[in-house]
Amino acid sequence: MIIIAITGILMVAAYFIPWAPLQGVKGVMTSWIVVISAATVAMGFVYMTTSQYKLYQKNRSTLQLVYTVTPYVFFAGFLISALAYPGGSNSPEYRWWFTNIYSNVGATIYAIMYFTLASSAYRTFRVSSMEAIALIAGGMIYTLRQIPLFQVYIPWIVPLGEWFLLVPNTGGGRGAVIAAALAALVVGIRTLWGKEVTLEVSG
């Protein structure tokens, strides 16, 4: 708790006071935390292995064995291409793995979200109350504003969509952001005070 208080207060002080030694300490601390967190990197591998092994223990079929081995094959593919080729993670070999698998799956995950957003709206966008109508108005009008066909044939949808976004959305969003920020600050102050229960529980 003392370490948290000292490091935290130093960082806050560096924000308020432009004193060179304090800024120096801030620079050192921020570079240290990058190293500390990066050094914990293998921890993830340990937990990945624990849960993979447990899943295999539960179901010792050949198919499950294939599922269990698969992550390690791709793990090795990535690691070898980063370590064995000149340029490391900038090598064309690593970029091949990165682009075709990592980036590509990432882009597809975003694509899938269209469908989940659509089905959730089918379920919840019902004109059942003032609040629901407000939700639908904010959602549907701005959606139509972004579709070229509606921009052409219902031109007034463009200013109306923009208005929803820039006026009521801004007002509501601002209030919500301020409320959440205050709550975050209170947790922060309590943490530096040494009274954050979560950290006490976790030792």
Binding site: P18, Y47, M48, S120, G188, I189, R190
Partner: protein, 267 residues
């Protein structure tokens, strides 16, 4: 003297920080004196839904899933408070699962540095119910860097292992609509929330019970049953009062001219 050593534009932030710190001191004292109680707060229905969801999971013999976001283990970013709240909920859900003997699956975020805290919260939850032996490290799942593998793996877990209650609290980015909607489709009781306003819509539309924005912090205080955390809710409300006051002063000063208002906020 003080103004001389302050960086430009930090007087207003300093006053706000001082107000909140002083309020922390006063309300902590009240908390120790036993004057702060959860029943003085506005009700948040989603809290009761968590216990209901654990009961549902036991009845259906399906696991309880806890997710704090693919990138929900941030310890040294501006979102650290949300990580801490998510850990408080994790401790709570671990206690409930230990108490009602429900199976718990924790989908860990990719930040490996948060794993020690996550494991400690779950262990402590089981210990608090006197059931340390029921804790299984394999309930903590890790899926590597980024949202893509996390989203896929969490969805696969709902599908393959079943889902009774899905509790999602913490830092969520654009990835959460998939996991939330899939849990819903697989028959989960979906409960959750995030402090990131831009993503709250996903929770509002996909959850059966939602914590809207700041409500996760308030609910975190209520479930902790800790007077100091509850005192935090009063401090937050005082902060809102101060903010509205500042807004009012800004509006009055603005009558003197836009530049006067701009100068006030630039302090």
């Amino acid at each position: 003297m003080l103004l001389g050593i302050l960086a430009d534009g930090t007087l207003q932030p300093l006053i706000l920080l001082a107000v909140l710190t002083a309020a922390t001191y006063v309300y902590n004292k009240k908390a120790y004196a036993g004057e702060i109680k959860a029943d003085q707060l506005r009700e948040i229905p989603a809290i009761a839904a968590i216990t209901e969801g654990v009961g549902k999971s036991v009845e259906e013999n399906k696991p309880v899933h806890y997710a704090m976001g693919a990138s929900g283990g941030q310890l040294y970013s501006q979102l650290v408070s949300m990580t801490l709240v998510a850990l408080a909920f994790l401790n709570y859900i671990a206690k409930l699962c230990a108490k009602y003997e429900a199976q718990l699956i924790v989908h860990m975020p990719y930040q490996a540095e948060s794993i020690p805290l996550i494991e400690a919260m779950v262990r402590e939850g089981y210990k608090a119910e006197g059931k340390q032996e029921a804790f299984q490290p394999s309930c903590l799942r890790y899926y590597g860097q980024g949202a893509l593998s996390w989203t896929q793996a969490v969805t696969a877990s709902y599908d393959q292992e079943g889902v009774g209650l899905n509790l999602s609290i913490g830092i969520f980015y654009s990835d959460c609509p998939i996991s939330l909607e899939m849990a819903k489709i697989k028959g989960a009781l979906n409960v959750g929330g995030t402090g990131r306003w831009i993503m709250v819509y996903a929770f509002a539309m996909m959850c059966d019970y939602v914590f809207l924005g700041q409500e996760i912090y308030v609910a975190g205080a209520i479930i902790s049953e800790n007077p100091l955390m509850l005192a935090g809710v009063w401090i937050e409300d005082l902060g809102k009062f101060y903010s509205l006051l500042l807004l009012g002063v800004g509006l009055i000063v603005g009558l003197l001219g836009v530049s006067a208002a701009a100068a006030l906020f630039a302090l």
